[in-house]
């Protein structure tokens, strides 16, 4: 037995045959059976031709055969590396063997009473991956090896190319479908207001879109409640979901490197893929999926999960903002109601909330925290029972409850939260305009922060007061001077109005808009003012107003 790899090239000897073959691949009518038929027709030296398709695992199965003795081979299987054909699959090299005698590697054929003298094998690849072996055999002594080899190789390459094209077209179609689905999901998420429905959609679409997905999970953290999440799962056993969610919490909120979620409660044959939901760089949730056992993630799965996570992030952000807005409206409404029956309480709580807002900005807190503290300041005088009925958020209720339970010297007690101490301090300060003695001496962090804030706040208030007073004084002075100039120059009431606006720094167009007259009329008034006061421009006019000469 001799073996040789056909690396030499000889031009084909029949243009007609190759043209027929190429035509077959234009529409692929008749499929591989028609191609094998052509192979045996145009190559009289060939007794049979067939195709063994790669099946599950390392097996190949002969699915198509042509030639007189061919049909008996159909359905036979062999492993990669087994026998001659198995060797082609293993090396993925086009090969032929000639002058074959009884050889155990021919068992596939001898088991069907076939004894080919020459055997040819070609690997067929799609997208650089072996999908099967094309083979043919001759029973005559001396077939034209070059012709058979060239023709077989051409068929294998053309067929591989055709299948690659089909694969790419299918892939394109699949990507288009995925894109269309993602657009539809984005549209729905845009309209959904309920957070749970957002989470349902994320979980279900993850299962729908990610290839080989078996179970999915999403969790979203609750603002102002560290460690607390809403958890929605599908396809997980309860203990499995608990374990996986804790693993994700470690990974995304604690930024730790947790043990992979494999072990108790987890399927041994599973792999996991997860992606964070973020709002302005902060993790607000996670989307996770369990896949079947795989060495590498299915094509596109990472990108699809990332896209769903980004969409989820946008929906969560929208939900959080609308919830905060709703909360703010509800709190403001209740606070306004206070004005109806106790104006002094209203005024005090209004001052408290303003101080709380200033404090939050001074400390560079996030908007959500500022809203909770200002909300607690506004509603501190209300009955908790009433606030619960009014559906005020838990964070505010908890803060009010804690503040109320604080004894008069409780600010130094470490069992109370920072925010509760702050609301207490602000309320006392708004009432007495000073810190109580115990607070002045306390070394508690909140008290220290508040004291340093008060230094800043009181200084700022003084500056604002001085600025306002100065401005009022300047306006009063200017008004007196304008009156004096108007009286001396005998200006008409309209000219006096124009003079006031000139003094306020308005130009002609602005004066025209303010008085509902045309710019030409303004010019006429200004000319008249100049004539009556004896000046030639605005600068002289202002100098006259200020220096009275």
């Amino acid at each position: 037995m001799n073996q040789s790899s056909s690396s030499t090239h000889q031009p084909g000897n029949s243009t007609r045959i190759y043209t027929n073959l190429l035509e077959l691949f234009v529409d692929f009518e008749g499929g591989i059976d028609r191609i094998l038929q052509l192979y045996t027709e145009v190559m009289p030296d060939i007794a049979f031709a067939g195709f063994a398709k790669k099946a599950e695992g390392e097996q190949l199965r002969i699915e198509h055969v042509d030639g007189e003795c061919g049909p008996s081979l159909r359905g036979l299987t062999f492993s990669i590396g087994e026998g001659y054909l198995g060797q082609v699959a293993l090396t993925e090299t086009d090969t032929h063997w000639h002058c074959l005698t009884h050889d155990p590697r021919l068992r596939l054929f001898t088991s069907r009473d076939m004894t080919p003298k020459h055997l040819y094998g070609y690997s067929v690849r799609v997208h650089d991956e072996l999908i099967g072996v094309l083979f043919c055999g001759s029973t005559i002594e001396e077939p034209d090896h070059h012709e058979v080899m060239q023709f077989g190789r051409m068929i294998a390459h053309l067929w591989g190319g055709w299948l690659t094209k089909q694969y790419l077209l299918d892939e394109l179609d699949l990507q288009r479908s995925r894109l269309t689905i993602l657009i539809e999901v984005a549209k729905v998420l845009e309209t959904v207001r309920d957070l749970r429905r957002v989470m349902f959609l994320l979980v279900d679409m993850t299962l729908n879109l990610i290839p080989d997905a078996r179970a999915a999970l999403t969790m979203v953290s609750k603002p102002q409640e560290p460690g607390m999440v809403e958890l929605v799962t599908r396809g997980f056993a309860k203990e499995h979901a608990d374990g996986y969610s804790k693993y994700l919490a470690h990974k995304y909120w604690r930024h730790e490197q947790p043990t992979p979620p494999i072990g108790e409660g987890y399927a041994d044959d599973a792999t996991y893929l997860d992606y964070a939901l973020t709002v302005q760089g902060e993790v607000v949730g996670v989307l996770g999926v369990e896949l079947g056992a795989t060495e590498r993630y299915p094509s596109g799965s990472r990108e699809l999960l990332a896209t769903l996570a980004y969409m989820g992030s946008a929906a969560v952000k929208k939900h959080h903002s609308s919830q905060a807005e709703r909360m703010h409206k509800q709190v403001s409404l209740l606070h306004e109601l206070l004005q109806q029956w106790d104006h002094s309480q209203y005024k005090r709580t209004r001052d408290s909330s303003r101080i709380a807002e200033e404090y939050g900005k001074y400390m560079q807190w996030d908007h959500a925290r500022i809203q909770v503290v200002t909300g607690a300041c506004k509603l501190l005088e209300y009955e908790l029972r009433l606030l619960k009925e009014a559906d005020i958020p838990q964070e505010i209720l908890r803060l009010i409850g804690e503040t109320r339970s604080m004894p008069s010297m409780g600010v130094g007690d470490s069992s109370y939260t920072y925010d509760a101490k702050l609301v207490y301090l602000i309320a006392r300060y708004a009432e007495h305009r000073t810190l109580q003695l115990g607070c002045v001496q306390s070394s508690d962090v909140c008290v220290t922060d508040f004291r340093s804030f008060l230094d800043y706040y009181e200084r700022k208030q003084t500056e604002i007061r001085i600025t306002v007073e100065e401005e009022q004084a300047a306006q009063q002075l200017m008004s007196v001077d304008l009156d004096e100039v108007s009286r001396v120059a005998a200006l008409s009431p309209r000219e006096r109005e124009v003079l006031q606006l000139i003094a306020a720094g308005k130009n002609n167009r602005e004066i025209a808009q303010a008085l509902y007259i045309s710019e030409n009329t303004v010019k006429n008034h200004i000319t008249s003012i100049f004539n009556k006061t004896g000046v030639s421009d605005r600068i002289q006019l202002m100098a006259k107003v200020i220096y009275k000469h």
Binding site: D170, D173, L174, R176, S177, R178, T180, I181, E184, V185, V188, R196, R197, M199, F200, L201, V203, D204, M205, L207, N208, L209, A213, M219, K222, E225, P226, G227, M228, V229, E230, L231, V232, T233, R234, G235, F236, K238, A241, S245, K246, A249, H250, W253, R254
Partner: protein
């Protein structure tokens, strides 16, 4: 049916049930509502049932389908338990 087509109809069916979570419908009804053939819908319903997204009530072509809400664990405290 190609994978792309299957995926597309599956998403369509899923969005329909997501937006109408209290609907109970059989294959024929769904075929009319979604404008899809029974042949197209059958594998889709099979797959969605397999994923527990839909719940099948009854057997064969007479079976009715309803949306199966995912498991919700309301508020879970995760970080203290770590």
């Amino acid at each position: 049916m190609s994978q792309a087509r299957l995926l597309s109809i599956q998403a369509e069916c899923l969005l329909f049930f997501e937006q109408n979570p209290y609907t109970i419908e059989n294959e024929e009804g769904l075929s009319i509502r979604l404008g899809r053939s029974l042949q197209d819908l059958s594998p889709v319903l099979e797959r969605l049932t397999e994923l527990s997204i839909l719940q099948r009530l009854g057997v064969g072509h007479e079976a009715y389908y309803k949306y199966n809400q995912p498991d919700v664990s309301g508020e879970v405290l995760l970080w203290e338990n770590i």
